[in-house]
Symmetry: C2
DNA sequence: AGATATTTCCATCAACTGATGGAATCATGT
DNA sequence: ACATGATTCCATCAGTTGATGGAAATATCT
């Protein structure tokens, strides 16, 4: 019966969930094309056919990974929104930067997967994009750049995207940037947060 | 004789140069793994073996592409440096943003190829990175964030990287961002420049 | 225990990819 | 015209990849 298979993801020890975890890590580390179904199966310690039994095509598994991180990000954004309520804009920006950096530094594959999505052609067979568009308006409102979800200006959207991109890039590019700064991982996280605040806070708070 | 083959790149009509041009476009559009040597050969209208005759392994051709854009970027940075001389910091930032945006919008594959490089594992067989690290110090000096090439602080480097990343992301992510802003390509370029200036100028000019 | 359904693995397939050898073609210099 | 070297294409190879059929193993239920 299918119901059992659908609920399998709830249990992290289930085979379907274990495959998803391995796929998420490897897709995030290598991208879609440089990750083979055999690599994922090997990481779990199973045969490729078992992977296909649980997830069908490779594209379906990838879509499953994106759906999972999509939920995670949405939850994180809601947390940001909640924690931002009632504080001034400067603090709101600092909270958002700290929370998103902490989350992404502990889940670096998420940043990679989102950025990988930027490159994928729109005319591809399957739509695999993380639905970022929907969040943008919410953040713009949470940050006080707009009041109504339907009334977010192009400028406001662009500014949110710029912030969002900066965070993602510093996380995804760590292996590239950190050596040229010659600092340890912990310091890197601090420098990233500090830099983001240095750049973003004045832009949004100066009148 | 080898000298003829080495000089072949000077002439844009030479087979070696034509292959390089096609490779640059396709690698930039699809990434390394999703671009086959047959795709590149087909774009030029030749057989795969002719491609290998001129460039050897696929990795060598990719390295050739990166070397070419590396030179281009270096020249562009020098132009920025030259045009920035003698003007105040605010104008310097605006000049840098305008020049780099114009360049990258007319060569979008460059932004893609640099960002693709961020994801490539450091332990891979061949080093294929565009040498960004070297430019960072130069820009920091040109922007007045440091005076001596050896004395660029971690903070200054991080701030330059943040700027650089923002530009790259807006270019590479156009097909992703523009639909959600619902504007035409020309407006997109304007919004990007405007947003970058909005965010970056206050950060570096407020005292 | 025995029947049934689910899960896993082995063997295998067709398509694709990077790469090469060698024949055929073309260009160049004498 | 001829010889020499450079260039191009055709045929082909071995390795990898996504995917499947079917046997074997395991779990579930009565």
């Amino acid at each position: 019966m299918a119901s059992r298979l659908e609920k399998a993801l709830q249990n992290p020890d289930s085979m379907k969930a274990r495959i998803l975890t391995a796929a998420r890590r490897l897709f995030g580390a290598n991208g879609y094309s440089d990750t083979t179904t055999r690599m994922i199966a090997a990481e779990v310690g199973i045969d490729v056919s078992t992977l296909h039994y649980h997830w069908g095509e490779k594209q379906d598994l990838y879509a499953g990974v994106l759906a999972a991180i999509n939920e995670e990000i949405l939850a994180k954004f809601k947390e940001v929104e909640r924690r931002c309520r009632g504080v001034n804009l400067r603090r709101r920006l600092e909270i958002a930067i700290d929370l998103m950096c902490d989350y992404l530094f502990s889940h670096p594959e998420v940043a990679n997967l989102i950025l990988f999505g930027y490159f994928r052609k729109a005319d591809r067979d399957v739509v695999l994009d993380v639905n970022i568009a929907h969040y943008i308006s919410n953040i713009a409102i949470a940050m006080g750049l707009a009041t109504d979800a339907g009334q977010v200006s192009v400028q406001a959207k662009a500014r949110i995207l710029a912030v969002w991109n900066s965070v993602l890039n510093f996380i995804s590019g760590e292996s590239f940037f950190r050596p040229m700064m010659d600092i340890d991982p912990s310091s890197y996280q601090d420098v990233v947060k500090e830099t983001l605040k240095f750049i973003l806070v004045p832009a949004f708070t100066t009148d």
